[in-house]
């Protein structure tokens, strides 16, 4: 794009220049192109998101603090198993059942019929409907609320709910961190009001091992 400016020589009088001298901007544009490309490639536009989780406080002294009591009929135990599988059973295992452990059902992380989402939504239908109706009212403009109060109202709906399941999440040692995040995500998607993460018990490890066909290697405490 370079150009050669030819000077006219001789012949008559010199004319005074009328227009401003022309600056060749090509190199400047080249440089700017480079810089823009550089910045565009190094910029991280989308910031990472965070998901909050509150774990129950650790009971450090069992003589002073008692574990909270929850009703067994509403309890669902989800055990994160190896190979992206979830094993679940309802209720609790009583000490007299230790020799014949209840069977577990296998699920996966998909949204299909075999997935954990269908199972959770089935059990959490009443609350999920309420949250969904509320969200619809906000979306269609029937209710005009700030985002903060929307979140608060949903939290309130969850708080007063007493029909949905209480989900206890446990992780078998061959599960991975992705499974953990996925299951917490499912809790948020399905609008589960009460869920928490608790350490796995030895009989639950056994149940997973029987269901998944792994050689038993119990490591959890046998308390």
């Amino acid at each position: 794009m370079a150009e050669i400016i030819q000077e006219e020589k001789g012949g008559g009088k010199k004319k005074a220049k009328k227009h401003a001298p022309h600056i060749d901007m090509t190199p400047m544009v080249d440089l700017m192109c480079l810089l823009i490309t550089f910045f565009m490639l190094t910029t991280a536009f989308s910031k990472a998101k965070v998901m909050e989780i509150n774990l129950p406080e650790k009971i450090k002294d069992p003589t002073k603090q008692e574990a909270p009591r929850i009703s067994a009929s509403r309890t669902l135990n989800l055990i994160l198993g190896p190979n992206d599988k979830i094993y679940w059973y309802p209720g609790a295992v009583k000490p007299e059942e230790y020799n014949s452990l209840p069977p577990v059902t296998e699920l996966d992380y998909s949204a299909e019929a075999t997935g954990v989402r269908q199972m959770l939504l089935e059990r959490n239908r009443a609350l999920f409907k309420k949250i969904d109706e509320f969200n619809n009212e906000v979306l269609t403009g029937k209710l005009v609320l700030t985002p903060d109060s929307v979140l608060k109202s949903i939290a309130q709906l969850k708080k007063v709910d007493d029909t949905g399941p209480i989900v206890l999440i446990k992780a078998y040692k061959k599960a991975n961190y992705g499974n953990f995040v996925d299951i917490l995500d499912e809790m948020n998607i399905c609008g589960i009001a009460r869920y928490t993460f608790v350490p796995i018990a030895w009989y639950e490890e056994k149940m997973v091992e029987t269901a998944a066909g792994i050689a038993p290697t119990t490591t959890a405490s046998t308390k």
Binding site: M25, T43, A48, A171, Y177, V181
Partner: protein
């Protein structure tokens, strides 16, 4: 017949508007850019539907890599104005009877990404200038019960900055035992609220099926 005079010069394009536009874009990018930093271990975060953005400061980020190493980061990269990093390191040094010089503290403050160096190697690490040589020291922070340096880091971080929030950034393939261990250590120090760093994805729910 008169000759048709052909223009000898190529037509001149006025580049001024283009330059204007470019400078606007360039300024915008320069002002909004946050440099992507190379983490000491590659981490693919799992996906979730959460839309809450990561906090910019008052954070204590734990990086859990695929090979079960733990790295620490305060306030995501170069320090904020309040300069918590050198204070935390100085406290750590006091505990282990290591005197860190001002230059070393400054080096720690400037370090742009997560750090996974055992405290006894920290001095050597901070005095190494070459990035490649530095990477050798990043062996992860010891978390076993004999020498639980992670617990001390968390303790001092919370002493220096009481508003600090715990963030966990793990690879989707990180095994669960290490996650469990880290959560245990945090809970021993009475940290019960965690932020799990994830990437955004859309949720798909088949509403008709549920309402049946």
């Amino acid at each position: 017949m008169p000759k048709i005079k052909l223009p000898t010069k190529s037509p001149h394009i006025d580049m001024t508007p283009m330059v204007d536009l470019f400078s606007v874009v360039l300024t915008f990018l320069m002002l909004t850019t946050t440099m992507r930093q190379q983490e000491p271990a590659p981490v693919d975060t799992p996906y979730s539907i959460s839309e809450k953005p990561t906090p910019d400061f008052n954070t204590l980020t734990l990086l859990l890599s695929k090979d079960d190493k733990v790295f620490l980061n305060f306030d995501n990269g170069p320090d904020t104005l309040l300069k918590y990093r050198p204070k935390i390191l100085a406290e750590m040094g006091k505990r282990y009877n290591i005197e860190f010089t001002d230059a070393e503290l400054r080096e720690f403050e400037k370090y742009p990404t997560s750090i996974g160096v055992p405290i006894l190697k920290m001095k050597e690490f901070l005095n190494t200038k070459e990035n490649k040589e530095r990477a050798v020291f990043q062996t992860g922070i010891p978390i076993d019960s004999l020498d639980n340096q992670l617990a001390l880091w968390i303790l001092f971080a919370r002493q220096v900055n009481p508003n600090i929030q715990a963030c966990i950034k793990g690879d989707a393939k990180t095994g669960f035992p290490i996650v469990q261990k880290v959560l245990d250590i945090m809970q021993d120090k009475n940290v019960n609220k965690f932020n799990l760093i994830t990437s955004l994805e859309a949720a798909k729910i088949n509403l008709q099926e549920i309402q049946k």
